[in-house]
């Protein structure tokens, strides 16, 4: 390693030069800006913001039209393959309040949420008659991670009464997780109606209680 390689660490600011050159730059800039016509740039900026706003409005409207799992609507029925190998329908749980939670097992937020739920809220939720369904988004959203059984074992203390873990189909994941969120959950009341949708369960678990009451 040659000492010249460390040249970038040397002091590069000569204060007097810096000040005089910045004053010069400022003066030149001011002269240029007064000479330049402001009109075209302003129009281009407005057009740019209009295009962005248009795309945003289109995509938001488009999403809401395709969103079948909307708050206020009945929860679409989907198949869930549980860790014991049996496949059940979501409709089987209608009659109970359900916390339907879509996770990706490689996401640190999901791991933390599972631990928060397990240690702080599990007893309270199940005492309120809530069934927790933790479902791995289809194929872990295309990125490898632990299986849902391992996730349950590591972060939730295993499969426990009224807390089930499973996987589902691509179609079901598209319905409940249309934007490929890593951690999205739904609160479904005993009538099978979606009453709340949120992301980051660990941070929003208090909301679940308020919506169930």
């Amino acid at each position: 390693m040659h000492l010249d390689n460390l040249a970038f660490m040397e002091c590069k600011y000569d204060v007097s030069e810096e000040i005089s050159s910045s004053v010069r730059r400022y003066k030149n800039k001011k002269i240029k800006s007064t000479n330049r016509k402001k009109g075209p740039r302003f129009v281009i900026l407005i057009l740019f913001f209009l295009i962005i706003a248009g795309i945003a409005a289109y995509s938001l409207l488009n999403t809401s039209n395709n969103d079948k799992a909307a708050v206020g609507a009945s929860a679409p029925n989907i198949p869930i393959t549980l860790t014991n190998g049996t496949t059940v329908q979501l409709s089987k749980f209608y009659g109970h309040a359900v916390l339907l939670w879509f996770v990706t097992t490689w996401c640190s937020g999901c791991e933390e949420s599972a631990q928060i739920l397990s240690t702080q809220y599990y007893s309270q939720l199940t005492r309120s008659g809530v069934i927790i369904l933790t479902v791995e988004s289809y194929n872990n959203l295309g990125y490898p991670g632990p299986s849902i059984s391992q996730f349950a074992q590591y972060y939730a203390g295993g499969v426990r009464p009224n807390w089930l873990f499973g996987t589902t189909t691509q179609q079901a994941t598209y319905i409940y997780n249309p934007q490929a969120d890593l951690d999205i959950f739904y609160v479904i009341n005993s009538a099978g109606q979606i009453v709340y949708r949120g992301t980051g369960l660990g941070a929003e678990v208090q909301q679940v209680f308020s919506y169930l009451s």
Partner: protein, 178 residues
């Protein structure tokens, strides 16, 4: 030149401005207390913030999930940020060139882990008009990148802060000598 024998000379050459600037600055008790307050509070804030970032908001109960790397980074970052901010404040006294942009960039790069698990990336992509299949093909890859590579951003953040402290020390040392 042998690298091992050159290290002490390089260190004294490179750090001479830091020694000078810190010596001048910390003689004044006000700057020393400012440094201590900023270092302590920013370290504490980072210890809460870093494990909360995957939620996209402050979650106090997430503090217990802090990893050893995050703890180490919080302490180092707090000390360096304290130095950078105090040097910036000190440099105002001499109207020297300050390096705020580097400090701000380092704070931002330390927070990229928040992009992994929050809906920020899918939301930005959907604003761009991406459909569900397109979102499924792009968004998880970007999020996984931030999920697994955040230590590199921590390193970049520390490097930027170190450079900003070096440049600030140079400016202060040069200015006072004049």
């Amino acid at each position: 030149m042998n690298l091992m024998s050159a290290i002490p000379r390089i260190m004294s050459d490179v750090l001479k401005y830091e020694y000078y600037a810190f010596g001048k600055m910390f003689v004044n008790a006000r700057y020393l207390s400012l440094f201590l307050v900023i270092s302590f509070s920013s370290s504490a804030l980072y210890m809460i913030l870093l494990p909360s970032l995957p939620f996209g908001r402050i979650v106090i109960s997430a503090v217990r999930f802090i990893t050893p790397l995050q703890l180490f980074f919080s302490l180092i970052f707090g000390i360096l940020l304290g130095l950078a901010v105090t040097l910036n404040v000190y440099s105002v006294r001499f109207s020297t060139h300050n390096v705020r942009s580097l400090t701000i960039a380092s704070v931002l790069s330390s927070m990229v882990n928040g992009l992994c698990c929050t809906p920020a990336i899918p939301f930005i992509l959907s604003l761009g008009g991406a459909s569900t299949p397109l979102l499924y093909s792009i968004s998880p890859r970007i999020q996984a990148f931030f999920e697994f590579n955040y230590p590199y951003f921590y390193a970049a953040s520390i490097l930027m802060l170190t450079l900003s402290i070096h440049y600030l020390s140079c400016n202060i040392a040069c200015c006072i000598r004049r």
